[in-house]
């Protein structure tokens, strides 16, 4: 972790030091898929945001260590006499690519657009009551209640120009059900460090450096050619043959080989995403088990046994070829609330696990079906296969059902699974994001990805309280208490955090971004 942060810092330092060497550098950047759209409020998806961050800008940005940093907003604070109002002071002398001035009106327009009917960003802004421009460079966002963490939700909400948007009737976001596409899907006008020059969806996009950008140091990369190459082998071949300079999505099996190839290097670092197993743990019998009268997993001893049966180090070594951080808690180390104590996990102990199963009344184990995605996370299906074997050792007979993620996810949101693998990224870098969807019982806005049947009204109340708690110490104590209970009850069975790998020519430097959204402004040339 420390090393990772240091590397990021070093890259930052290097970029400031070397910015003076103004050379024309073209970076050919390949990854597995293209941005889905240029409309910045239409998709809440990592690849799309990653691309948009080069053209559009957000009010606040997230540093590699997870802290918030100024971008279009220079400072932000809760209004003194009203805890429900966030005040944002905006950067001066910022211009959109078409030359229009960036003002508070643009921010008001963009936030209103981001929380409008068809926007996929709107759940992040659901607590907004109204947005108003106080003067040209001050915006006040009035929330429905105290929202101490609201600025965390702004790191992927981009600001569009009000005038440009109105000229092209972009007040609302693309509606799939409507028959036409929106101008913003294929055209862009942001304030960002790069200007879109051309774009062929799924083929290539060309971005040119914005010479009028407000930042004092100009990025070294003057031109970005963005090349989506879906096939793993082809993408790696393109790097090996020198046709691309940077590959963002490197399959784990290629990392060693690329490291040993002259002229190339690989940067790795943990992604802000936890891979874990979940299960139904209420009293209703499991749908896929031979135990028909009750749910074996409802017994805490059985969950403890499953926990002890998993050999996380073996999964790291064999399935991930060393490219993972085994985890004892369902929370990446970047997240507020993480402690090394929570993340500790016991050595696998099949004997003790078997004894626990016998104690719980299942000396011969039981059977259950494990649902796993096979195209979403790094080696997801292989991880599940390994776990099938590990649980088999203690007598739990697991049948594996493997599906593409488009079929897998509905099982979880639709309560149609007994036992499943899922990965969870934490874009707000706060424990509450995990609790809201994975721990809170399913109810209205909460628990969308919690098919466990785990329901504790006291815990739910505590989770809901986190959103409005202003007292930082009290809030931290609550987070610790919730995690203590989640760990004690073994609500989730964490496996590891994925490592990301970026492969590049060895005269480039780019640190791994924990949310897998690296900015090409951070690329530096030279050894």
């Amino acid at each position: 972790m420390k090393i990772q942060r240091f590397a990021g810092l070093a890259a930052l330092l290097a970029s400031t030091l070397m910015a003076s060497s103004a050379m024309a550098e073209t970076l050919r950047w390949a990854r597995a898929s293209d941005a889905l759209t240029l409309d910045p409020h239409s998709q809440n998806q990592g690849v799309t945001h990653n691309f948009a961050h080069h053209i559009y800008e957000t009010l606040v940005d997230r540093a590699v260590d997870g802290s918030l940093t100024p971008r279009l907003a220079t400072e932000w604070y809760v209004k003194e006499d009203d805890p429900n109002v966030w005040v944002f002071k905006l950067r001066h002398d910022v211009k959109f690519h078409d030359g229009a001035d960036f003002t508070a009106e643009d921010v008001v327009f963009s936030l209103d657009r981001a929380r409008s009917e068809n926007s996929n960003m709107r759940q992040l802004h659901s607590a907004i009551a109204s947005v108003a421009a106080v003067d040209d460079h001050t915006v006040e966002v009035t929330m429905t209640g105290p929202s101490p963490l609201y600025p965390n939700n702004l790191t992927n909400t981009f600001v569009m120009d009000k005038g440009w948007s109105e000229a092209h009737s972009l007040q609302s976001v693309q509606d799939y059900a409507a028959g036409e596409d929106n101008y913003a899907v294929r055209n862009a006008n942001g304030t960002g460090p790069y200007i879109l020059e051309s774009r062929e969806v799924d083929v290539r996009s060309v971005l040119k450096r914005n010479e009028a950008h407000w930042a004092e140091t100009k990025p070294q990369v003057t031109e970005i050619i963005y090349l989506p190459i879906a096939e793993n082998a082809t993408r790696i071949a393109a790097l090996l043959s020198g046709e691309v300079d940077l590959v963002q999505d490197v399959p784990v099996q290629d990392i060693e080989r690329l490291k040993n190839t002259a002229g190339l290097k690989v940067e790795t670092g943990p992604e802000n995403r936890i891979i874990y197993f979940g299960y139904r743990m209420d009293d209703k019998p499991l749908k896929s088990s031979n135990v028909a009268d009750k749910n074996p997993i409802a017994d805490p001893r059985v969950r403890e046994a499953m926990h002890l049966a998993i050999d996380r180090e073996a999964i790291k070594r064999v399935v991930m070829r060393g490219n993972s951080l085994p985890a004892g808690v369902a929370m990446p180390p970047f997240v507020h609330g993480w402690t090394p104590e929570l993340d500790a996990f016991p050595a696998p102990d099949p004997e003790r696990a078997k004894a626990l199963l016998a104690e719980a009344g299942y000396p011969d184990g039981f059977s259950v079906t494990l649902d796993t995605p096979n195209n979403r996370y790094v080696n997801d299906e292989a991880i599940s296969q390994a776990v099938v074997g590990m649980l088999g050792r203690i007598g739990i007979k697991v049948t594996l059902a493997s599906r593409p993620v488009a079929q897998h996810s509905p099982l979880i949101t639709g309560d149609n699974t007994d036992f499943y693998l899922l990965g969870w990224g934490v874009p707000t870098f706060d424990s509450a994001y995990i609790f809201n969807d994975l721990i809170h019982s399913r109810n209205g806005h909460f628990g969308a990805y919690n098919p466990s049947g785990y329901a504790d009204p006291a815990l739910d109340a505590k989770i809901e309280g986190l959103a409005t708690e202003i007292d930082v110490e009290k809030r931290d104590a609550d987070i610790a208490e919730i995690w203590a209970q989640v760990q004690r009850d073994r609500v989730l069975l964490p496996i590891h955090n994925q490592l990301l790998a970026y492969a590049m020519k060895d005269n480039l430097t780019l640190a791994v971004h924990p949310e897998n959204q690296p900015l090409m402004t951070m690329v530096t040339y030279g050894q």
């Binding site: 889905l36 993408r235 046709e243 488009a406 996810s409 509905p410 949101t413 969308a448």
Partner: protein, 376 residues
Amino acid sequence: MLAFILRRLLQSLIVMLAVAFIAFLMFRFVGDPVEGMMGVDARLADREALRDRLGLNDPFYMQFWTFVKNAARGEFGISYRLQQPVTQLILSRLPATIELAVVSASLALIVGVTLGVFTAIHGRLPPSSRETLTALAAIILPALALWFLGRGLLWSFGAAALIFVSTAFWAKSFFSQAVMAVSLVGVSLPTFLIGIGLIFVFAVELKLLPSFGRGQTVELWKGWSTGFLTKSGLLSLILPAVTLSLFQMTLIMRLVRAEMQEVLRSDYIRFARARGLPESTINFRHALKNTMVPVITITGLQLGSIIAFAIITETVFNWPGVGSLFVNSVQAVDVPVMAAYLLFVALVFVVINLIVDLLYYLVDPRLRVDGRSGRA
């Protein structure tokens, strides 16, 4: 004649409807499109609302009916993945696929016919398995020897290719045995493997040809972008075209060879020889002409499958055609694109079949006579 065409058109329509129907039956098992359209943060209620708006909660026959109604008006909706009109997406990808298909088909035809004739003239009937094995060994063993001597893949590959080609000049019968043996590889190796192999040799190791994409394209007319006019466009075309044509090439070669050997044994060839005509005139003017009828038919039908099933080649080479569009759409459960693509493929086949049928009708006089009483 007119009745025949009308009947065929009606049948074509039924085929297209059937394809669309089966497609819609299958879409229910592909997964939930809304999953990819909304982020994980999306509220369940919002997802349900979107599903409702898109009509995904309707029974599949209702969805099918809506699709047919819209398709009849030429409306295929908006791509769930890329948010752009489907017709426009497919049209913008079509030039890449058609150019690749035409080049592959020509390559398959030219090389296939040439080698077919060559192996028919110089080969033996039936080919003995012993000679085939000797031929293969003569090519593979030196290559393996170089490999073991640590010369690397390129030397081995080069040596094999050199021996293979040089035998064409001084050991013709041997060469045709070798061609027959190698053609087995073309028929049996999966396209995916051939593509990756070619990329490895010619892009990664030799750095001669691009490994992916279409290179620089030039817009010709109304959005038809062509790769034929630039150097990088032409270079990019080589590997995918070879990969895609390999199967058809071997198919045509074996077909020509078989037909040719049949024709060479017929009486009029013997008489031509007896007349003392030069060997080349006999082979190319008299024999080849009579083998071409089935070849043209097969080639026409294969062109359809080249256009429709370039999917794997396009994926391996990241070729921006309709095939790779389809693959990306399947992963994202982009129902409007999948439906339109499958309909497009059905259309290609139906049109080509129709043309082939009409050609038969024109070529074969018996069909015209029987037209009134019997069936084509």
